[in-house]
Symmetry: C2
Subunit: 323 residues, 2 copies
């Protein structure tokens, strides 16, 4: 990153247009971008119907500057919205960013954020095409992703009794990382890094669409909570098989060190952004996915919208609550 501003410059020092110029220098524009940053609106070429999703990160609630670098926050802010399009079976073409920041925010931090946004977008060939920068007492990053899918988007409402449930990508790692950071530790490094920067399986959403996934959701609030959305929208019951859920070694280590059942990280943890989807049969599940359960009709023991574990209600923490 080069800049004509001194290393200790703040956003106020750079001014609105100086700061915006410093960010946009970091945003490479793909061939799908007809008009990039700098006009009243950007213009983007999207083949077919447009997928759109907005997610917001708030300092102190979704990130802490002492726990993550500016680049990490940028990566995570972009990943959250890109993952939403992934969960429809789509790919992001462009993003816009709304940034609210205190006047004394170091310009270098804001540039780091912009660099992180650009890096994450680059993973799927998308571009940061515009946004808004405004002053406020709380640091807020709002990211909107627009993009497209190579077929009918995969909704939450298509799961059918007899389908299998499958998972792709790391799940529970970020929650384990957060548990560690909350206790003042910085290791195991793998889970702390997972909390800072999700590794989103961006190829898996479009692959699942092509493979005939009947329903799909990204896990941002917790596996139980997000599969609950699928179960409710589809009018079905989802049952998970605990023995099939991947509980990686670092999660076991954090569980042992913190006196937590590591399965809790997997069932209730957010922020990793893996995908979970339902498929008509185990043979339809693409490589790289793990079958973790099945879909059934509602019945006397489980009403539509229920998610059970080994056939019973789960009685631990269900997931992340925003209010």
């Amino acid at each position: 990153m080069t800049s004509s501003h001194p290393p200790d410059a703040t956003l106020a020092d750079a001014g609105e247009f100086g700061a915006i110029a410093a960010f946009t220098a970091l945003f490479a524009q793909s061939s799908a971008v007809v008009v990039g940053p700098g006009d009243d609106a950007a213009v983007v070429r999207v083949p077919g119907d447009v997928l759109v999703s907005t997610d917001v990160l708030v300092e102190g609630r979704h990130f802490r500057r002492d726990w993550a670098t500016a680049e990490d926050v940028g990566r995570r802010a972009a990943a959250q919205s890109l993952s939403d399009l992934n969960a429809m079976g789509g790919t992001t073409t462009a993003v816009t960013v709304g940034l609210v920041a205190p006047a004394d925010l170091p310009l270098s931090w804001a540039q780091g954020l912009a660099a992180g946004l650009a890096e994450e977008c680059d993973l799927v060939g998308s571009s940061v095409v515009g946004g808004d920068l405004t002053r406020g007492d709380v640091l807020v990053v709002s990211v909107t992703a627009i993009g497209h899918a190579g077929g009918a988007p995969v909704l939450r409402s298509g799961a059918r009794p007899g389908d299998v449930v499958a998972l792709v990508g790391r799940q529970g790692w970020a929650a384990a990382g957060l548990a560690v950071l909350s206790r003042g530790f910085r290791s195991p490094r793998a889970v702390v890094e997972a909390y800072r920067r999700p590794e989103v399986p961006y190829d898996a959403g479009p692959e699942a669409l092509l493979a005939g996934a009947t329903a799909m959701v990204d896990v941002s609030d917790g596996l139980l909570a997000d599969l609950g959305h699928v179960a409710r929208a589809s009018g079905v019951v989802v049952d998970l098989t605990s023995a099939a859920l991947p509980v990686a070694e670092p999660l076991q280590a954090v569980g042992a060190a913190t006196g937590t059942d590591p399965l809790t990280f997997v069932l209730a943890g957010g922020d990793d952004h893996p995908l979970t989807a339902t498929f008509p049969s185990a043979s339809a599940v693409p490589d790289g996915w793990t079958v973790i359960g099945s879909v059934s009709e509602p019945g006397p023991d489980a009403e539509a919208g229920t998610v059970t574990v080994d056939g019973s209600a789960y009685d631990g923490e269900q997931g992340w609550r925003h209010f």
Copy 2:
């Protein structure tokens, strides 16, 4: 607005999903919406290239709850982004909303905000298709508009020497309203209302595109500031004719009462969201627009990017600074 929540319920009482359900009940979906609120992303049918723009309002900086109703804030938040697409010659198809709100925000206020967003979107046939709700200490509303134009979007960079400059819509009214409110008054009512709810000339942008406008911008930061963007992007000088600028009677009244030259409201005021555009000739200017100036080559007296008034630099306030 009907709701199963008690009249004094807060967002925390309603919970994330209760609050979202209360909002989305207010969002009618147009036939362009393939998938509306409630999935990982919305799906919208946009004919041709996609215009996209994001704007953010922050409480205390862009609005005050004692100066405007929740509906007013919703109207203004949507208008800001819809106006950006208008300034490209386009129309908004759908918007997403990122809302950061304190837990004790009355649910009724948030519903009023949602109603205002829906009303403003309805003016152009667009729909609120999704968003994100999260807790934070400061009230922030981020709106992203996506849409399309019926031809090549009108950029800021196309103004040419010899073009005429024209304006459509009220300009300076919101600034006069803000001047009044800042002094603790509530009249003249017309300017106070203009500050609370801009009346955006949504038909004028697409009409200007069809009429062959060479450059266009919406006036959100001030006429001088926003025409400065056009002058810089186009490499030209813009000269305004003060006698041609409309200074309506309520602006004159506020000027007299506050000891302000009312032309200042017109030259430097923001928040009204009129359009200003350049056209190849006066005969190309559509009905309803007022010719307010002309475009010329840069020269020894005025470099590219300069906006002059009656041939000279203007030495009052230039416009709104975000940092």
